[in-house]
Amino acid sequence: MQMTRKPSDITTDAKSGEVLHHEGEFIINMGPQHPATHGVLHLKIWLEGETIKKIEPHLGYIHRGIEKMCERLSYRQFIFSTSRMDYLSAHINNQACALAVEKALGLEVPPRAKAIRIILAELTRIASHELWWACSGLDLGGVTPFFYAFREREAINDIMEETCGARLTQNFIVPGGVMSDLHHNFQKRVKRVLTQIKDNLHEYDEILTGNIIFQNRLKEVGYLSREDAISYGCTGPAARGSGLSCDIRKLYPYDGYEKLDFDEIIFNEGDCWARYRVRMAEILQSVHIIEQLIDSIPDGEFQAKTKNVIKLPKGQFYQRVETARGELGVFIVSDGAATPYRCKFRSPNFSNLSAIPQMAQGAKIGDLVAIMATVDLVIPDIDR
């Protein structure tokens, strides 16, 4: 963090005459290399004493041009690049792309592939929330949660490695199904992990949730009203903590979520504590979803037959899924060729980030870390 303080009363821009800042006002640059930003985010913060007056996000420190890149990749290939966007829910990103292609082709995915996708997606969601829990503890000054959450993450990563071949960026989904069948150990190990998570969740509560110091840092901090959440386009746990029903799995079900029994977690308080509780409850909902499927994975093919070179019909296709952070939309404009004409990823983090200045208005600078921790940003997903 660099701190600048100008001695003169009012500093104005030489060209436009616009007032830049007044006396007693600090401008602090948080980032682009700051441990609490979970990546390379640059926030320019106007402060009056300790109170935040204004925040301006400066992005692009990890802008890799994935949308441009996808215009030259075939529909089989462009799936892999999306795992690098929101790498914590890489599997769900891949699923979104595959679903968009399948929707355009009118391709029917075998039920076995659907079940495999959902189980892996929910495992990804649990792993992502575990990491969020670890890091929000870390951001707010507790190092211990980090080690507890990574224990469960390792168990999930081992399953991913055994079935998909990679720990983090799996690239297991292909248009029309999944790349290969489940590993024979899969069901046994998933059940073991689910019991481990359920048994260990009380430890999470003992270490962090029940801690009064931690609770006081989250309660009544970073308030976001339901109207603002809608206006800023917030999705995911960040919006559900403000009472907005926006779970894509419920509203626009895909891959057979409509047959499953689970609850959409909604809290109405709108503060950091509500967002924290949404995520903690979502871990259990994901466990519940996997439990329904794990013993009844349908038999049959794991991949529908597709042509070697996939060509989408002309038109525009929009597919949305619920990642661990909210709604990911894949918007493909096709001109009938083997590559997309234009590919847009509506990322959940980008909209959630735009609400941070609103949440942090009038808060103290120390609370900004709590706000960013509970919104759970993944910066490469913002910049793409």
Binding site: E162, A166, I207, N211, I265, L284
Partner: protein, 179 residues
């Protein structure tokens, strides 16, 4: 909704102090926060005296027993048999399937015994420094010539060592894999 996670139990310890007086509130806050802190530290202490629950893996010492999963993607390999033969016939499907151009196959034309011109691989260049292990090349290979290797320790001091030539010198294509 609150019932499903365990924090209902913890909610009992939430600060619930009425305005009874400054001192009582002040010390009450200290007491509750200390007690909740100790609850967490009790758990840490539990693991401290239960060393059998430690999951730490002794990495460089356990290399002999460390086995990667069956499907683990470590590197692309081109297996050769004992006669120095491989299955790659140089169709370049993997090169086309690779999304980031980490495979380059240089082909040459060979004249076989019966006088026919045949396409054969000259060098099978694999850029390990660019590979993302997405498995698309393996899926695309029609003759199953390439497989994913299990080795993951690729650290080098020099970047140029990461560009690998997978076909061994003097290797030939297997009879059954031709065309």
């Amino acid at each position: 909704m609150v019932l499903i996670t365990g924090y209902v139990k913890m909610n009992g310890t939430e600060i619930n102090i009425k305005k009874t007086g400054f001192l009582k509130e002040y010390f009450g806050t200290i007491f509750t926060s200390l007690s909740s802190l100790l609850t967490g530290m009790k758990l840490t202490g539990y693991y401290f005296i239960h060393p059998n629950k430690i999951i730490t893996e002794q990495y460089p010492d356990n290399r002999a027993t460390l086995k990667m999963a069956e499907r683990f993607r470590g590197e692309v390999t081109l297996p050769h048999n004992e006669n120095n033969e491989h299955r790659c016939n140089g169709c370049q499907s993997c090169e086309i399937a690779c999304p980031n151009g980490s495979i380059k196959i240089v082909t040459k034309h060979e004249i076989s015994e019966d006088g026919k011109k045949k396409k054969r691989i000259d060098t099978w260049v694999y850029h390990l420094e660019m590979c993302t292990f997405c498995n698309l090349c393996i899926e695309a290979c029609p003759s199953k010539a390439i497989v994913m290797g299990k080795k993951f320790e690729h650290s080098v001091y020099d970047k140029s060592q990461l560009v690998k030539i997978l076909n061994k010198p003097g290797s030939k294509v297997m009879k059954e894999a031709e065309e």
